[in-house]
Amino acid sequence: AQSVTQLDSQVPVFEEAPVELRCNYSSSVSVYLFWYVQYPNQGLQLLLKYLSGSTLVESINGFEAEFNKSQTSFHLRKPSVHISDTAEYFCAVSGVSGNTPLVFGKGTRLSVIA
C-alpha cells in the first residue's frame, strides 16, 4: 500500500516569488508519481508526472518536480509564480504494475498574492 503526505495545507506567496510544495510518499513497491492541479470549481488536471528516466520533470507552465528516491520525495517547484497559479495542488502515487489506483495527498492550497 502507498501513502502520500503533503505537509503544507496552505502556502501563500507573493507574485513572482519562488515556491516549493512538498510531497513525501511511502511505498513498499516501485511507484509512479504525479502532481495534479485543481483550479477553483474545476476538476483535476495533470500537471506533471514521473514514470521513469530523468528524475527531474517539467510542466509546460514552468513547474518542475524532482523524484528523490532516497528521500521518498517529489517536491513541486516554480521559480516565479503568477496570480493564475492560485489553485489546489495534489500529489499522488500509484504502483507501477497493472491497474493500481492513485493514492492522493490531502492537497496544498497555493494562494498567489499580488
Partner: protein
C-alpha cells in the same frame, strides 16, 4: 485533444434516492476509475474497472455502490440509496494501459439533502 466527460455536472437528490453518475472515458482507454472528494478533503479512490469487471474497490465502495459499462462508451456509477455523507464531488478517470497516466473528468457534484 480527447478528454473524459461527465454528466451531470451537478445533481441534488433526496436521501434514500438512487442516483446514476455518467462518464464517457477517452475512447481508446481500457482502465476506468471512480474517485470522490468530500468538500475540503482529499480525493479518495472508490473503484477500478477493467475488462468488464471490477479490478479493485475501496472500503468506501460498499453494497450501495455499483458500476457498469453498459455499452462501448459509457461508464456509470450508481448509488442505490443515497445518504447525507455521499455528498461529494465524484470524479471519473481513465487510462490507456497498465502503468499509464490517469486522466480525470471535470466531476459531478452530488448533494444529498
Amino acid at each position: 485533444e480527447p478528454e473524459v466527460t461527465q454528466t451531470p455536472s451537478h445533481q441534488v437528490t433526496q436521501m434514500g434516492q438512487e442516483v446514476i453518475l455518467r462518464c464517457v472515458p477517452i475512447s481508446n482507454h481500457l482502465y476506468f476509475y471512480w474517485y470522490r472528494q468530500i468538500l475540503g478533503q482529499k480525493v479518495e479512490f472508490l473503484v477500478s474497472f477493467y475488462n468488464n469487471e471490477i479490478s479493485e474497490k475501496s472500503e468506501i465502495f460498499d453494497d450501495q455502490f455499483s458500476v457498469e459499462r453498459p455499452d462501448g462508451s459509457n461508464f456509470t456509477l450508481k448509488i442505490r440509496s443515497t445518504k447525507l455523507e455521499d455528498s461529494a464531488m465524484y470524479f471519473c478517470a481513465s487510462k490507456r494501459g497498465p502503468g499509464g497516466t490517469q486522466y480525470f473528468g471535470p466531476g459531478t457534484r452530488l448533494l444529498v439533502l
